[in-house]
Amino acid sequence: MLFSRRLALGLAMIGTMAGALAFPAMAEGPTEIDLFFPVPVDGKLARDMGTLIKEFNETHRDIKATAVYTGSYDDTLIKTRAAIKAGKPPSAVIMSANFLLDMQIENELTNLDALIKADGTTKEQFLGQFFPALHGNAVINRSVYGVPFHNSTPLLYINADKAKEAGLDPNKPPQTWAELTDWAKKLTRRDGDKVTQWGIAIPCAYDYCGWMMETLTMSNGGRYYNEEFGGEVYYDTPSMLGALSWWNDLVAKHKVHPPGATPGPAVSTSFISGNAAMMMLSTGSLTYVRDNAKFNYKVAFIPRNVRNAVPIGGASLIVPAGLEADKQKAAWTLIKWMTSPEKSGWWSRATGYFAPNMAAYKTPDMVDFLNKNPDAKTAVEQLDVAKPWFATYKTVPVRKNLEDEVMLVLNGKKQPKEALAAAQKAADETLKPYNAETSLKLP
């Protein structure tokens, strides 16, 4: 950028003046920390987050935490990275659980092992509080980098009233893809060529699309990515081809799934309005469905083609690299408080995400809640077959390499086979620098 000399002088002057205003004199007082958080559900929960942090500040007089809203999961990553590069790292961030590997590769995360040790516990004891399925996205190279905060698995939501109308038993939900296809056909209503009720809807928008593809690929026996090493994805494999072909068949062949790539909120809206009789969506939407459905609904495991398996979703708490020791300590206090059984249980009841801390399910409030809302148990039961969420070097671009192609398929512009080959090629290109630095760098 080019400035005239006068302009540069003017800017320098304004900058100095504003700088003087922006830096009040340092005073002794509580350690001030920022917590970056994306809003995973609707705005009322942004208010709930305010309540949570207020309670923390009232019970911890030596720390003053501020909750900073930072947009979607992807925006939160951009903002955190920009802040770290600008030398102003936040003290803690609620970060999409699968971004941790990429951040660790870029040296943007604080290794939490020392903080755990300073508390007099071991890594095993610390991790032991959380469901085993969540460890994969929290531990990198045997060190702890993240603390699970709110997590999800995909679920199959069924409109029980419509199922009964169609002569199906909602208490015996479909368990295989074949049964699900059959249900979807029976639940689709047509008026001539026009569909008045869709059998099933699966969301496909950035972020969600990659997660649903992973869900389908895993229940088709596949692996999607290399869990041990961040440089490989398996887009062009039979398991993923089968998954995408089945999804495409629902749209193009059986015509029981609305065509095109549909974002998550549109899917939940059409389920609530009765326009779609079944949907695959995160357990994070459960509270919304419970509050808004004017009909009986059921939630069930994601049906399998080869095996029962689902990926983890949701977010973990992280501490960025480059913080002063006192802020790091204060952030750690906040993180431990937020992931305690009481608080994580409270957050789970408010959102629909499951509580990662197993002890949360033993608190009286939670026992009460589960008795009244047995549907909240499904996601927890499904954890037995849950696996880590895909994480690679440059997770977001690698994910978009696939999502762009899947959207083309659902829009009827490409066939699954060529789309996956293109996605693999694009992802290999994105992963190339990392592989050149690691697996292809020979001694």
């Binding site: 950028m1 080019l2 400035f3 005239s4 006068r6 302009l7 003017g10 800017l11 304004i14 900058g15 504003a18 700088g19 205003l21 922006a22 830096f23 920022d34 994306p38 809003v39 995973p40 559900v41 609707d42 705005g43 009322k44 942004a46 208010r47 501020t66 909750a67 900073v68 809203y69 930072t70 947009g71 979607s72 999961y73 925006d75 951009i78 903002k79 990275r81 920009a82 802040a83 590069k85 600008a86 030398g87 102003k88 999800s152 972020d207 969600y208 998550g264 909120p265 939940s268 809206t269 309005s273 009765g274 969506l281 994070g284 939407s285 919304y288 469905v289 808004n292 979703g313 949701g314």
Partner: protein
């Protein structure tokens, strides 16, 4: 045909009996209706009680029992007066500094003679080709080094100089006859006096056209303020609004979103309605030499 006659009553006399201008008007009316539908939907959704259920959400027919509940909800979730104040400070601050910088830079490119003028001007214009997202990290580092992280000044700073504005003012100044300046020169006017009393008053339409573009684009900017601002009380409207529109795995409360959106656009909308004639004439005249 009565309607068309009424719509074209202000058309120049010479074209009043021709068919083409009438078709043009008809097309404009059609386009206006298409543009109005989302806005109408937003108003209807704002007033729709949640008890109507989500089935009626997409309907344009207003609810029989309109309610202000959504407005109240949105009002409670976001500190809208504060957000509006912040956005106003940001837009006004940027615009005021821009007026000074683009006037001086535009004048330099239009009238002053210095080495490499054309080259520098083209380099200046090249800045227009850069996607703003590219500059987020370098800009943020600079803003943080100046101690402006998490300040409104930090949000404004990267936009104090405007390549587009400089270009616009250069074009406007070049269209002003040099004889006017020469006359002032004979009367002994200094450089600043000539700019102040000849160039600026004669370029008012270009200034207002630029003001509209500058204010609307910064009013709507989301990503950059999101990067700079941490404190909730310094959020501009866009960041405040997105607290309840951005969802990852969840769902959306359309009524509240519609109400919030209405609150965000209201100040711009009212300004436009009040100054409608001036806005339009500024665009019309700024194109004519």
């Amino acid at each position: 045909m009565k309607l068309i006659d009424w719509l074209t009553r202000d058309a120049p006399l010479a074209t009043r009996n021709e068919i083409t201008p009438k078709l043009g008007f008809l097309l404009t009316v059609l386009l206006a209706i298409v543009w109005l539908i989302p806005f109408l939907w937003m108003v209807v959704a704002t007033l729709r009680p949640p008890s109507d259920g989500i089935n009626t959400m997409a309907e344009l027919m207003p609810s029989l029992k309109p309610t202000l509940d959504n407005v109240r909800d949105a009002w409670e979730i976001g500190d809208f007066p504060r957000y509006t104040l912040n956005t106003t400070i940001i837009c006004a601050g940027i615009l005021l500094v821009q007026f000074v910088t683009i006037t001086l830079a535009g004048f330099a490119f239009a009238r002053l003679k210095f080495a490499g003028k054309t080259l520098i001007f083209y380099l200046f214009l090249m800045q227009l080709m850069l996607v703003p997202v590219l500059l987020i990290v370098p800009n943020l580092s600079l803003v943080a080094q100046l101690g402006l992280y998490d300040t409104l000044t930090g949000v404004m700073m990267p936009f104090f100089a405007s390549a587009f504005g400089t270009f616009l003012m250069r074009q406007a100044f070049e269209a002003i006859p040099t004889e006017l300046e020469d006359a002032a020169l004979i009367d002994g006017a200094s450089l600043i006096q000539r700019i102040r009393h000849i160039y600026v008053p004669l370029s008012m339409p270009s200034f207002s056209a630029f003001a509209i573009i500058s204010v609307t684009s910064h009013w709507n900017d989301f990503l950059w303020p999101l990067m700079v601002i941490n404190s909730p009380d310094k959020r501009p409207l866009t960041v405040g609004l997105s607290v309840f529109t951005k969802t990852a795995e969840g769902t959306q409360a359309w009524g509240t979103i519609a109400a919030g959106t209405l609150m965000v656009i209201a100040p711009l909308l009212v300004t436009f309605l009040v100054f409608q004639k001036r806005f339009i004439s500024s665009f019309v005249t700024s194109g004519i030499k």
